[in-house]
C-alpha cells in the first residue's frame, strides 16, 4: 500500500512538473497560435478577436490554473487549431482519442514483432557455439542498430512499397473503415520500428544469458544430469529475462510514447505526428495533453515493469 502510495505520488509530481515545463515552454517560444492561424493575412481586428476567443489575454498563471482545473475536472479542453465542424473546435479528448488507437496498435504490432523474434533469436544465439554464426549475428544486429530510424523507414517503404509492391505507401486506411487493411498497412511501419529494437533486445538477451550461464546454479543443474536444452529453458531463461524485462520496458515506453518519426515517414495519423504538428502550430491544449499522455505512459510502463519484476524475481518482493 505504501509502495503504491509512493508510486502514485511520484506519478503526480512528475506529471505536474511536466505540465509546468510544457506550459513554460509555450510561454517562451516565439510565435503564437494566433499568428499561426492567421498567417500572413492577419489583421489587428481578427487577431484581437481570436485572442479573446481563445482566452489568451489572461495572465499566464491564470491560464495555467484554468487549464489545470479543467483537466482535473476531466475537461481536456478544445484544440486551438482543429475544427470539429463549422463553428466548433475539436475537443482535445476526441482528437487524441481518434489518433491514439493508431499509435497504440502500431506499438502493439511492433512489440509483438520484437518479442516474437528477439527472444527466440537471443536464446538461439546464446546457445549456439558456432563462431561464424555468432560473428554474423553480431555484425547484422550492430548494423541494424546503426541505421537512422527515418532512413530505415524510407528504405522499408522503398523496398517493400515501390520495388516489391507488397503494400501501397501512403495507402493508410482507417481502423474503423477496414480493420484488415489497417493491420496490413501497419505491418511495415511496425517493422521499421521493430527491426533495430529486435537487434537490441536479442543482443541484450544473449548477453544476459551468457552471463547467467556462468552462474553456479547452472553448474548445479548440469550436475543433476540435465541436458543443455533443459538447463537453458528450465533455469537460465527465466533468470536471464529479469534484466531483459527492464530493457523491454524502456523499449515499450519509447514506442508507445513516440513513434514520431515512423508516423511521419509512413503518413500515419497517430499521436506522434499530431504532437509534432501541434507544436509547430502552437496548439497548446493538444500539446499539453499529449505530453502528459507520453509522460504518463512512460511512468506507468516503468511501474508495470516494477510489478512484473516482483513477479519474476521472488527476491525483490521480500525486501
Amino acid at each position: 500500500m505504501k509502495y503504491l502510495g509512493k508510486k502514485l505520488f511520484t506519478l503526480v509530481m512528475t506529471l505536474f512538473l511536466v505540465s509546468v515545463i510544457a506550459f513554460l515552454s509555450f510561454e517562451i517560444i516565439p510565435g503564437d497560435v494566433v499568428s499561426s492561424i492567421l498567417g500572413t493575412e492577419a489583421t489587428p481586428e481578427r487577431e484581437a478577436q481570436l485572442r479573446e476567443e481563445l482566452g489568451l489575454n489572461d495572465p499566464p498563471v491564470v491560464r495555467y490554473v484554468n487549464w489545470a482545473t479543467g483537466v482535473l475536472k476531466g475537461d481536456l479542453g478544445v484544440s486551438y487549431r482543429y475544427s470539429k465542424n463549422m463553428n466548433e473546435m475539436m475537443p482535445v479528448a476526441e482528437l487524441v482519442g481518434d489518433k491514439l488507437p493508431v499509435t497504440l496498435w502500431l506499438a502493439a504490432f511492433s512489440l509483438i514483432m520484437i518479442i516474437a523474434v528477439s527472444i527466440p533469436l537471443g536464446v538461439m544465439w546464446a546457445k549456439s557455439n558456432n563462431r561464424f554464426l555468432d560473428a554474423a549475428l553480431n555484425v547484422v544486429t550492430q548494423t541494424t542498430m546503426a541505421i537512422p530510424s527515418f532512413f530505415l523507414g524510407i528504405m522499408v517503404t522503398y523496398i517493400f512499397g515501390i520495388l516489391l509492391k507488397w503494400f501501397a505507401p501512403g495507402g493508410y486506411v482507417s481502423y474503423e473503415k477496414d480493420p484488415w487493411g489497417f493491420a496490413g498497412y501497419l505491418l511495415f511501419p511496425a517493422l521499421s520500428i521493430a527491426l533495430p529494437k529486435i537487434a537490441m533486445t536479442a543482443r541484450f538477451l544473449r548477453n544476459s544469458m551468457l552471463k547467467e550461464m556462468q552462474s553456479d546454479y547452472v553448474r548445479t543443474a548440469y550436475s543433476k544430469g540435465a541436458t543443455k536444452r533443459k538447463v537453458m529453458y528450465g533455469h537460465v531463461l527465466r533468470n536471464a529475462m529479469i534484466p531483459v524485462i527492464t530493457f523491454l520496458g524502456m523499449i515499450i515506453a519509447e514506442i508507445v510514447a513516440g513513434s514520431i518519426v515512423v508516423e511521419q515517414v509512413f503518413g500515419l495519423p497517430g499521436v506522434g505526428r499530431l504532437l509534432i504538428s501541434s507544436i509547430s502550430t502552437r496548439d497548446f491544449p493538444v500539446v499539453e495533453i499529449l505530453i502528459l499522455y507520453i509522460a504518463f505512459v512512460i511512468i506507468f510502463v516503468y511501474f508495470l515493469i516494477d510489478i512484473l519484476y516482483r513477479v519474476v524475481d521472488p527476491r525483490i518482493s521480500e525486501k
Binding site: P30, Q49, G161, G171
Partner: protein, 513 residues
C-alpha cells in the same frame, strides 16, 4: 526534405503549393481526352498539402483550406479559369456610377446542401457576417468597407460601401451560408457548391460528395472526392506511384520527371511572387545602390534552372504575368543573368568595395526557398557579399521576420489573389504588410491614384508606373513566379487550372477506357 514538419500548416504564402492559372495556353495536357465523352460517377482522391485551418469559409485564411472549400461554398460571384468573375448565386449585378452601391439579383432556386433555397436573408446575413457588421470584426478584409446590406426584395440585395474601389467586386466571392449558421454551434459546413460536406478528420482530410441539386446542371461528374492530406512531398510521390492518390498539384521538378509516364503531368505558372526580400530600413540595405548591386549580382536564369528545372517565370517587380492587363515586363532593367562588374561598381560607389555580411532569414520548412537561398549565397559570394542562411521555423519567421521586421534579407513568396492591387498595396510606406519597409513617396502617390480610379485603363497605367518605381529603387530582388506541376491520373479529364488557388473538382470526370 524539411517540409515534413510544417508542411501541413502553410499559410497563404505557399509557393510550390500554389495552383496558378495559365490562361495563355501554356497548359499542354500530355494526354488529350477531349474527344472522349465525360462519364458520371466515380470517386477520386486528391492529395493536398495542408490541414484545414477552419471549416468556416469566412474565417479560413489558409490558401490550402480555400482551395478545397471552393468546392463546397460559393459567393455571389466566383472566379472562372480565365481569372474573370462569373455570376454564381447572383444571376446579375450592377454597380452605381460612384462605385458606392452594388445591387445583386439572386439566381432563382439556388439550393443549399440542406435543401433550402437561398434567400435574400441568407445573403444579407452572410455579407454582414463577412464584413464585420454583425460583431464589428471583418472576417473578410476586402469587405471591410461595406457599411450597409439592404434587402430590396426577395431576389435583390443592395450593398453600400464607404469608399469606391474598382477591385471591391472581387470581395463578393465571399461564401453565402444559411442565415444563422455562423452562430449554430453544431453546424456542419453548408454551402451551395457542387459538392457537399461529408466528413473531416484532422491530419487525414475531408470527404465531400456530389450535390445533386447543384444549380449548374450537369455538374459535378464525380460522386465523391476525398481530399487527402499528404504528409510530405516525398510521401506524395510514393503515394502517386502506389496509385493511392489520383490528383496532386505540387510536384517538384524531379518528381514531375519521374511521373511523366504514369500520369498526365501539367505545368503552369503559379500566382506566387518569389523574391529575395530586402529590409529597406537597415544598413547597408537602406542604400539604393547596395540593393541595386544585389539585383545585378543575381543570376536569375541560374536560380530558375537549379531550383525549378527552368520552368519558372522570371520577374523583376511585384506583379504577376497572370494578371496580364496590369503586368509590365521589366526583366531588362537588371538582366536575367548576373552582371558582376556592375554590382561591384555599385558596391564600391556605396562604400562597400569589399562587400559586407548579409544574413538571409528563410522559413526552413520551404525546401524551395532554402534551395534558392543556397544558390543566392553562392552568387552573392562572387561579388564579395558574404551571405549566410538562417533557417526559421515557420511561426518564428512569422513573428520575427514578417510581423516583427527584424531581419536583413529573407527569401519568401507572396501569393496573389485575383485583385491586381493586392500585390502592390503592401509596398506603400505605411502599409501594415510592408514588411520590407519600402518607402517611396512617389510610389505611395501613384498607388493612391490607382486605388481611387474606377477607370481600369488608367488604373493599369498607374500600376505599371508603380512597378517601374519598385523595380528601379530595387525595393527587393524579385526572382520568379515558380512553375507549378500537377499530376493527374490518366483516367481523369476535365481538370481546370485557375489563376487563383483552387482545386475545382466539379468539371473533373472519368474517361471511358
Amino acid at each position: 526534405m524539411k517540409k515534413r514538419l510544417f508542411g501541413l500548416f502553410l499559410s497563404a504564402l505557399l509557393t510550390m503549393a500554389v495552383l496558378g492559372g495559365c490562361t495563355d495556353g501554356t497548359v499542354e495536357p500530355s494526354v488529350d481526352h477531349s474527344s472522349k465523352e465525360p462519364t458520371y460517377g466515380g470517386s477520386v482522391v486528391v492529395g493536398i498539402q495542408q490541414d484545414f485551418d477552419s471549416l468556416d469559409p469566412h474565417k479560413a485564411t489558409a490558401a490550402g483550406t480555400k482551395e478545397v472549400l471552393f468546392n463546397i461554398f460559393e459567393g455571389l460571384v466566383k472566379p472562372d479559369e480565365n481569372g474573370n468573375l462569373m455570376n454564381a448565386i447572383a444571376s446579375d449585378y450592377t454597380v452605381s456610377e460612384d462605385g458606392l452601391r452594388y445591387t445583386f439579383t439572386l439566381r432563382e432556386n439556388v439550393k443549399f446542401h440542406n435543401g433550402n433555397v437561398v434567400t435574400a436573408e441568407d445573403v444579407k446575413y452572410s455579407l454582414e457576417r463577412a464584413s464585420g457588421l454583425l460583431d464589428g470584426t471583418p472576417l473578410v478584409s476586402t469587405l471591410r468597407t461595406v457599411t450597409k446590406v439592404d434587402i430590396i426584395d426577395e431576389q435583390t440585395v443592395q450593398v453600400t460601401v464607404g469608399s469606391a474601389n474598382a477591385e471591391l467586386i472581387y470581395g463578393f466571392v465571399a461564401a453565402i451560408i444559411p442565415a444563422g449558421s455562423g452562430e449554430d454551434a453544431t453546424a456542419d459546413p453548408v454551402g451551395t457548391g457542387p459538392f457537399s460536406y461529408v466528413s473531416y478528420k484532422p491530419q487525414e482530410g475531408m470527404i465531400v460528395q456530389k450535390f445533386a441539386d447543384y444549380w449548374q446542371t450537369g455538374l459535378p461528374y464525380l460522386d465523391e472526392v476525398n481530399f487527402k492530406i499528404v504528409n510530405s512531398p516525398d510521401s506524395a510521390l510514393l503515394e502517386l506511384q502506389g496509385k493511392t492518390i489520383d490528383v496532386y498539384a505540387y510536384l517538384t521538378d524531379s518528381q514531375a520527371g519521374l511521373l511523366q509516364n504514369d500520369y498526365q503531368v501539367l505545368a503552369s505558372a503559379s500566382n506566387v511572387v518569389q523574391a529575395l526580400y530586402l529590409n529597406n530600413a537597415v544598413a547597408p540595405l537602406d542604400d539604393v545602390r547596395v540593393r541595386r548591386a544585389i539585383c545585378y549580382a543575381l543570376d536569375r536564369d541560374e536560380i530558375n534552372l537549379f531550383v525549378g528545372g527552368g520552368k519558372g517565370t522570371l520577374l523583376s517587380a511585384g506583379m504577376l504575368p497572370t494578371l496580364k492587363d496590369y503586368y509590365v515586363d521589366l526583366n531588362d532593367i537588371y538582366g536575367t543573368t548576373d552582371n558582376q562588374q556592375k554590382a561591384k561598381d555599385l558596391l564600391t560607389e556605396a562604400g562597400y568595395p569589399d562587400g559586407f555580411d548579409l544574413e538571409i532569414a528563410i522559413p526552413s520548412n520551404y525546401e524551395f526557398h532554402m534551395q534558392t537561398g543556397e544558390v543566392i549565397v553562392e552568387q552573392l559570394k562572387a561579388v564579395g557579399i558574404n551571405a549566410t542562411i538562417q533557417g526559421y521555423e515557420w511561426n518564428s519567421w512569422l513573428e520575427q521576420v514578417y510581423n516583427g521586421r527584424q531581419f536583413e534579407a529573407t527569401i519568401s513568396g507572396v501569393t496573389s489573389d485575383m485583385t491586381p492591387g493586392y500585390l502592390l498595396t503592401r509596398f506603400q510606406t505605411d502599409s501594415p504588410k510592408n514588411f520590407i519597409n519600402f518607402s517611396s513617396p512617389e510610389y505611395d502617390d501613384i498607388f493612391k491614384r490607382a486605388e481611387n480610379t474606377m477607370d481600369l485603363k488608367l488604373k493599369a497605367d498607374y500600376y505599371a508606373q508603380a512597378q517601374k518605381i519598385l523595380c528601379d529603387l530595387a525595393g527587393s530582388a524579385f526572382i520568379q513566379a515558380p512553375a507549378n506541376q500537377t499530376a493527374i491520373s490518366k483516367k481523369l479529364a476535365g481538370y481546370k487550372f485557375y489563376p487563383v488557388y483552387v482545386q475545382d473538382m466539379s468539371t473533373v470526370y472519368f474517361v471511358e477506357e
